[in-house]
Structures are given as C-alpha cells and as structure tokens.
Subunit: 154 residues, 2 copies
C-alpha cells in the first residue's frame, strides 16, 4: 500500500516536470492543446488513483478506531452479564424492549419471539420498532450491534 503511494508520488513528480517542459516547448512551437490535455489527464488520473487509495486507507483507519472504542465500554468479562441500566434509562429503553432485543440478538424471528413470549407478532414488531428507534437502528442487525456496543446485550 505504501509502495503504491510512493510510486504515484514519483510518477506524479515526473509528470509535472514533463508537463512543464512540454508546455514550454509548446509555447515555442505553437503546438495544439491535445498533448497538453492528455498530459493533464494522465497527471490527474494518477492523482485521482492516489487520492482513492488515501480515501480507502483513512476509511479503514476510522473503522478500526471504532472497534477500539467498542471495547472500551464493557467491563471485564463477567459470566452473568449485567446490562448497563444507566444507559438503558438514558435511552428510555424499557425492560420489555430490552428483553425482546436479547431475543433478537439470539437470531430469533419476530414470530419465534412472539410464540416464545406468548404474545402477538404485531406486539413484537411494535417493541422492535420502538427499540430500534431509541437505538437509532434501521435494521435488527444494526440494533444488535448497537446494543452490544452500549453494553445492553451480552
């Protein structure tokens, strides 16, 4: 990865030099714009590639920082697992909603949760919708992830 950046840097520098040289000649020879444009194109294509590499790299960095942050929150491993009641309260998540969330995290479908808790599937959907809203999640996988991040789920 680093090697690419280096290569592109060198190539870019060379291109700049070539560009300046050729432009100088063009002024003299009164040549057309095509070659100039091509050089600019190549130069900026290389620049774009380099930029693309940088973008992805910085994105990866962020991604891993997030991972570190996640590990900061939960306390050292305990067997019974105590959900973070404080966070639960600040988010306004009720006990029932958290209960449904844990079952969601176990990979159960809404119907399975419903039969498991002896309530209607619609009820589960309502609980889910409210819990997702409070967690800022659009999907159940997202909700599970957030729940784990916040120490609400094991």
């Amino acid at each position: 990865m680093k090697r690419h950046v280096l290569i592109f840097g060198v190539v870019g520098g060379l291109l700049i030099a070539i560009l300046q040289y050729t432009e100088y000649r063009f002024v003299i020879i009164e040549h057309s714009v095509e070659l100039y444009g091509a050089l600019v194109a190549i130069l900026f294509a290389a620049f774009g590639v380099w930029l693309g590499l940088r973008i992805t790299r910085s994105r990866e960095g962020i991604r891993e920082t997030v991972v570190v942050k996640e590990v900061l929150l939960p306390a050292p491993a305990l067997q019974p697992f105590a959900p973070n009641r404080a966070r639960q309260q600040t988010l306004g998540i009720t006990a029932r909603e958290l209960e449904i969330l844990t079952l969601v995290a176990r990979g159960l479908s809404n119907r399975e949760i419903a039969t498991h808790l002896f309530v209607s599937e619609n009820t589960i959907k309502t609980h889910c919708a409210r819990a997702f809203d409070k967690l800022g999640a659009a999907r159940r996988t997202q909700a599970v992830r957030r729940g784990k991040e916040l120490g609400l789920l094991p």
Copy 2:
C-alpha cells in the same frame, strides 16, 4: 481482468469524445485553455479516484492493517481480531463470504454492502445465501451469532 480492460477502453473512449466535444465548443466560444485543462483534470481525477477505489477493493480480503490508537484497556486483548481460519476452512466459507459476513454483522443492508464493495446487490444475496447455508443460519441475525460463536467474527 478482461472486463476491466473493456471498461477502461469504453470509459476512455467516452472521455475522449466528451473532451473533443467540449474542446470544439471552447474553440467556438473563444475560451481559454485553462478551463479546458481544468475540465480534463477534474474528469480524470474522478476517474482516478474510482480506479483507486477499485484497486484497493480487490485487496481488501488480504489487508490486515493494525492501527492501535488508544489502548486504554488493560486485560482483554483487543487485537485486530484474527478469524478462526481452521473453522472457516472446515465449514468451507470463502474469504469473500466472510467479508460479506462481517459487513452483515456491522448492520449493513445488502444494498449498502453492494455499493460498499462495488458489486451488484444480487451478488451480495448469493454470498449471503451460501454463507448462511454453511453456517446453518436462516436469518442474518442468526448468522452473525453463529459467526461470533465460531470465532469467525469479532
């Protein structure tokens, strides 16, 4: 690879056409060369960014960048996480499938994963279906849970 070359050719041809067209207009309007150069630059910079993204994407499977920025946590080891390759092999889960699985675990939808990896949503669905089958999961939440249990996902 052949398709890439093709795409490259087509995009290049299109760009050339656009450039010629714009150049023609510039000649008429008696505009300066700077604007033309800028246009070329922007176009090829964008193209380069796209190309750069593609390049990095093809290596995402191999990449294992370790960025430990804030290590404030003592006991629990928070490595970049090494998936259990042995289990992965016994289950026959390919690298690409595992890659999609991690994105699923992050709460992304199939469409989001598709745009993130520059592939079709159908492709993601196939990968998911195969991964779920190999994991014995019927839903993505189940797949995520199984993946974590088996040490395939962080």
